[in-house]
Symmetry: C2
Subunit: 332 residues, 2 copies
């Protein structure tokens, strides 16, 4: 299994990516880690490299502020683009990047390429839940507008991912909606509902935004716009409450002392609700595996993304999705 890492992508790259790559290569001898990036910048960081780690030189870098489509088209030797090309050409089984999100989605579409039968690849991060299972939400930002058929494909891809990568036997797939009854929603969700019902998955129906955090489903299907509103609202509310708590808890000496006692509990809770703890987000529906790491990924997060990619490759994720999609298309 060959896993390419965009060594130059992310707020803490290349330190974070090298650390993660080294740790992963040492832990799993059945993978080959390909660090894609500037050889001269990377070599000094790598001492005592294990035999299953190598550098693949790429001379350019896509910056966080680059305009995605332009950057991917023009910077043909950028580490992210080169990593994508390795996947496209079958020289790597997966790629990981913590770089510019828009550019990574563009690399997925233009360099790696769509899977046959998939109209719109989807970005599928985990949203934390109170029961700590988490929920895979898709699409979260790859496509702002979706058609009902896209939502049905998201449902299928998400269900397969949860089975293959997280080992969940019969993932509960829900449709993000404004009420639980069938027939609720906007035009998009009303038409998508019966299409999702036809999929060979465990569709549990509509799920309201307020029930996502408590773990109402394992896969949450939504268009990229609604998904963004959901995730940002969740993050914003949690962040706001924790900063209000901090303010209230430091109002008096009495409060400060009491808060100190509760601090471990609060830290625990904050961690439970921190989506950054939940690993990388796969871009599903491409002809090869692409995993997006959070921009602020450290070495541990990069190593976790490698673990994810390794499990997905072992589970033959891409082939499974492709088979289901083409099977589905044949029977239509």
């Amino acid at each position: 299994m060959r896993i390419a890492i965009d060594a130059m992508g992310g707020d803490h790259a290349p330190k974070s990516t090298v650390e993660g790559a080294l740790a992963a290569a040492k832990e799993w001898s059945d993978i080959e880690v390909i660090l894609v990036g500037d050889k001269e910048a990377l070599e000094p960081l790598i001492l005592d490299a294990p035999p299953n780690l190598r550098i693949h030189h790429a001379g350019e870098v896509i910056e966080p502020e680059d305009e995605p489509v332009k950057a991917v088209r023009r910077k043909k030797d950028a580490s992210m683009v080169v990593a994508g090309r390795l996947v496209r050409e079958g020289k790597a089984d997966a790629m990981i990047s913590a770089g510019n999100t828009g550019a990574l989605m563009t690399t997925g579409l233009l360099v790696v390429g769509r899977m046959e039968g998939i109209e719109r690849p989807a970005l599928a991060p985990m949203i934390p839940t109170v029961d700590e299972r988490g929920v895979l939400a898709l699409d979260l930002g790859a496509n702002m507008d979706a058609k009902p058929e896209h939502l049905a494909q998201y449902a299928l891809m998400g269900s397969i991912y949860r089975q293959k990568v997280h080992g969940i036997a019969n993932p509960r797939v829900g449709l993000l909606n404004v009420g639980t009854e069938p027939g609720k929603g906007n035009e998009l969700t009303k038409v998508a509902y019966p299409l999702i019902q036809e999929m060979p998955i465990n569709f549990v129906g509509n799920v309201e935004a307020r029930d996502v955090l408590t773990g109402a489903c394992d896969v949450l299907v939504c268009d990229g716009f609604a998904g963004n509103i959901l995730l940002k609202s969740l993050e914003g509310t949690a962040g706001t409450i924790f900063s209000l708590l901090k303010k209230e808890f430091s109002k008096s000496l009495k409060n400060k002392l009491a808060a100190a006692v509760l601090m471990p509990s609060l830290r625990n809770m904050k961690k439970t609700l921190d989506y950054k703890e939940h690993g990388g987000a796969p871009l599903l529906g491409l002809s090869g595996l692409v995993v997006k790491g959070h921009g602020s990924s450290d070495g541990g997060a990069i190593k976790n993304a490698v673990r994810q990619a390794r499990t997905a490759i072992q589970g033959r994720l891409t082939e499974s999705i492709s088979n289901e999609i083409s099977g589905k298309r044949v029977t239509e």
Copy 2:
């Protein structure tokens, strides 16, 4: 000013509605409160009625589980429908109901009637913010699908409401979106953005879901679907965090003692974020004023809704919206 109250609507009606009506009639001598409902049920509850309170009999009741359109069409003598008819016929300047939300929106559309030039009336509740100004969000549930022109009308109506009812001189109007830069969003928000720019309001551009709670704007414009996702996600996240806190804080005696010290602070915070504290939600864009009270309204909440209606009538809210809309149409 004559304000009709659907005396039979709400979880705690008619006790809550009678209490609220009595308190309002006693506080404001410049209004006439019309309690619409079953005379026999209401009369025993009203002792010592002030002269500016009277009962208008209505023999039927729309129940929470009634199908909205059917109920409004068939129960012509329902308290909610009769109150709507009083507004339509100019016998009341406003109506308030804490009953079946769908039925109230139907009453607004079919009985009170749309304002000329308005395609879609909008439900506009307040979402609490940390700075305690709150944000008026519309549409939150009257229409699941919106066209760009509807969003532009929401922006105008919301701005006028904040001026007339809350006395905000130059309300900041934001468009709920996935990023702050113009050009971000789905088809709907991309097309709506320049239309909102043309409105005679203080448009501050796109607002992300995570910035709503911190008070990024005074009026938040969105379609009913996205608005529902936002509000339910906010409620769900806050509710989940408070129940996690409760659980963590009762884990040990030490924690319980510390939590007891912080309890007043926590209660304060919870109250700050409780949308029920923020009064009734107007249905904007009708030919008369309709205010929706929360289903769990008590007497105090009903009185607050009367206060809102009174301020709106004093500010000539409906006429102001109508003038702006027709002015706008004339200049096109």
